[in-house]
Symmetry: C4
Subunit: 263 residues, 4 copies
Amino acid sequence: MAHTTASGAPRDMVLIDQQPTTFNEADALVHSSDPLHPANHICSLCRQFYTHGWVTGTGGGVSIKHGNHIFIAPSGQQKELMRPEDMFVMDFATRQYLRRPAVLKPSACTPLFLAAFTQRGAACCIHTHSQWAVLVTLICESGLQNPSERNVFSMKEIEQIKGISRGGAGSSEIAEGGRKVGNLGYFDTMQIPIIENTAHEEDLRDTLEKAMVEWPEACAVLVRRHGVYVWGKDVAQAKTQCESLDYLFQLAVEMHKLGLKWV
Amino acid sequence: MAHTTASGAPRDMVLIDQQPTTFNEADALVHSSDPLHPANHICSLCRQFYTHGWVTGTGGGVSIKHGNHIFIAPSGQQKELMRPEDMFVMDFATRQYLRRPAVLKPSACTPLFLAAFTQRGAACCIHTHSQWAVLVTLICESGLQNPSERNVFSMKEIEQIKGISRGGAGSSEIAEGGRKVGNLGYFDTMQIPIIENTAHEEDLRDTLEKAMVEWPEACAVLVRRHGVYVWGKDVAQAKTQCESLDYLFQLAVEMHKLGLKWV
Amino acid sequence: MAHTTASGAPRDMVLIDQQPTTFNEADALVHSSDPLHPANHICSLCRQFYTHGWVTGTGGGVSIKHGNHIFIAPSGQQKELMRPEDMFVMDFATRQYLRRPAVLKPSACTPLFLAAFTQRGAACCIHTHSQWAVLVTLICESGLQNPSERNVFSMKEIEQIKGISRGGAGSSEIAEGGRKVGNLGYFDTMQIPIIENTAHEEDLRDTLEKAMVEWPEACAVLVRRHGVYVWGKDVAQAKTQCESLDYLFQLAVEMHKLGLKWV
Amino acid sequence: MAHTTASGAPRDMVLIDQQPTTFNEADALVHSSDPLHPANHICSLCRQFYTHGWVTGTGGGVSIKHGNHIFIAPSGQQKELMRPEDMFVMDFATRQYLRRPAVLKPSACTPLFLAAFTQRGAACCIHTHSQWAVLVTLICESGLQNPSERNVFSMKEIEQIKGISRGGAGSSEIAEGGRKVGNLGYFDTMQIPIIENTAHEEDLRDTLEKAMVEWPEACAVLVRRHGVYVWGKDVAQAKTQCESLDYLFQLAVEMHKLGLKWV
């Protein structure tokens, strides 16, 4: 009696983009005994994010850039069950897949992850469907918190804001015009832009890239009625910023319920 | 000093429906070293669902159809403590129990699970008592969200809706009249019918089957003041749809608290 | 460098109530390799209840009656760290301690646990400080849900009510006057009495015993601004009723927030 | 392929304050097979506190005083991933670091932890960013619960208050003028002062120390829009008081939503 699932199906060697890749070469990209190897790390992060309610129902995703390799969790799979052999690996320079599990689909978030790696020099990007992120975008949309700020989430004078960097990953390199770098201070106003959702996730790329240009200090972009993209210069920064933002989103929803202003 | 519980009681060979079944034959149906064998899988799913608050207080249930065998968790038992030997096994064609643990009662949900397997070609059906599902049915009942939609939960333009299939399990086979198959799109309106609760769970069958006919695109039926039944073509689809729906139910309750409309 | 805590302190043989008990005899009462032995079971239950938020901050407690022995978790200790050797053991007939850990205090809940064992024939009693239980007693006190029911929590037509027994433990033995036994039905009204809190927990005994007499169908008593006592004929019944009640308390608070009536 | 993180970086012998310390001497301070050794205990506490949402996004912190040694978790690190070798160790008398992990920063909370150890004789101090603590300070600030108590959180007649000590750690030693010692009673009013947040955490020291003087019965100080500092005579007391307070903060927020008064 054999029990197979999508992620349990046999995975054969794949030929991609004219680059013959042997089974062993492609597989070696995702096999390591190091728990911090990107293929292993994405799996443990997904298990942790599932318990936070960030990636239930196959939603959300994670990508890590390691050198010239981009590791990406597949689309439409149960995130808490991810295994290293489920990972896609893309060459950053050529955008060609070096490894592509036969029966899985690449994540529709891929162009958005690449935007963070390219525009911000990020090395990790996390996408969650956190209900707190969605509710914050709905409250902004309603204009009930601040009628003039429907497309940006602003908050200040909350200690946890100090966990958020200016300019996202690699801010020290990309800062210009004398803009301050490092993390936000307690009296600074944190601003996270909100873009409108689209029918297809990959169609978010243009507005997400535009938001990155217009909000050079933001380390995240909220997507209305959808969730949030958060990046960082490494896994630790992306993850802790994602935690701090989720904390702030939840706090903002509770404050709104209590009739308190965010700014 | 012996400590026995209902589920820890000795289980003897049982004779069911004139079909003599030896202990070994009946037991072999639920013993496997494969964690994805239905008897093992139901146990691990129940433990996970308990942590979500879906099956506390012995509420809720899970059934998996594997070939011609229906595996069902027993009634009135602590779901987080389920063991493979607690499972009932029914023959799909004859509706006769092939295995029936001596001291346990079959689930009152059995006719409802069978409806999903028969009418929708599902292979897994999950029943939860999620408080969010119950609250959604109460808000609909109150008419405070939409006075003209007391018997259906509708939601649109929330990304997580894309985790919900049209027509439930096996939609590609049963779709007719040119109806679109696959998952819902972001701009589609998700509609989950709500049926009224009855004194005895098995009496829900007629209205549940009627709802399945009337709402061919639904992959779930809400039961007022009770919970939800969710099905899928396999365990992964049933489980991830159950997660997506629970996410949407909770989001809907929070939106209602904030004075926001679901559609 | 020695690190000792209250529960890590050495425990010596104790002489209690003129009954000389050797170290081995007293210790044998709490040492077993059976995970369902009361001394082990209380520890695993406490760990589980801690994750539910029922016994944080050393609050709450659990007692199991096994034959003529009453096993009780100590007072003022971290419940998620309980070990079998922390357990008090009392003789049910004589009310004398057969085992009394030297550096620990017996639970102030002891007379209340005994009331459930004596008056209701229970074999397990759980006391939680669940915030949902406390909030329900506060809403009743306010009269905002029902001004004429400040001393009883009533709910009906919620499926989870069917997880609650009539008359608590041993109801079949104590039922009289033709009262129905078994669990509540969907259309029955569940009623849990609320007693006022006192400065000292042991002083709750009289009103708790009075409530047990006046509400023979109740399997639990709420204590205003404090928590709840829930009992059952065995651990499974006490635990699952405690889970069902907590589910109902939380649902009731959410319903009240949404302006919905409990009955 | 090497994967290094901040906390995974190699740690060399460090020379601190002219006191040459060999690798082995400094390291011996944090290496022990005893799970209750402060260096191990802080790690397990941080993992537990992370699941409570108290120290996400690198927020919060813990310090334990053991004899003349102060153990402190580092600043800006993921608290659920702490390892014994990440700990700073300070000499209580000289305030000099006996161990200072090369690539980590000492916690900005250090002067505040020291205030609890010095002024109150505490041996453990916990700092959380609990959202419930922050919300309580916001509700007080708004004056909506009690316009005359913006700088103190007061609550009474809730059983869990009995989990809070008078005068914090070592109260029996520092109590004077006949003030009662021990824990609060049910009819006592618990009062936790609230101080205003500052741009830099270390600048809280003066107002925190002032609050300790002005509120000698308090075992904690709330920091507006930031979190809470809780101390105790040992880890058990600090931790269980922190749990009891967090329970009370959450209950207070829920009570406020329901229109109920705290006192």
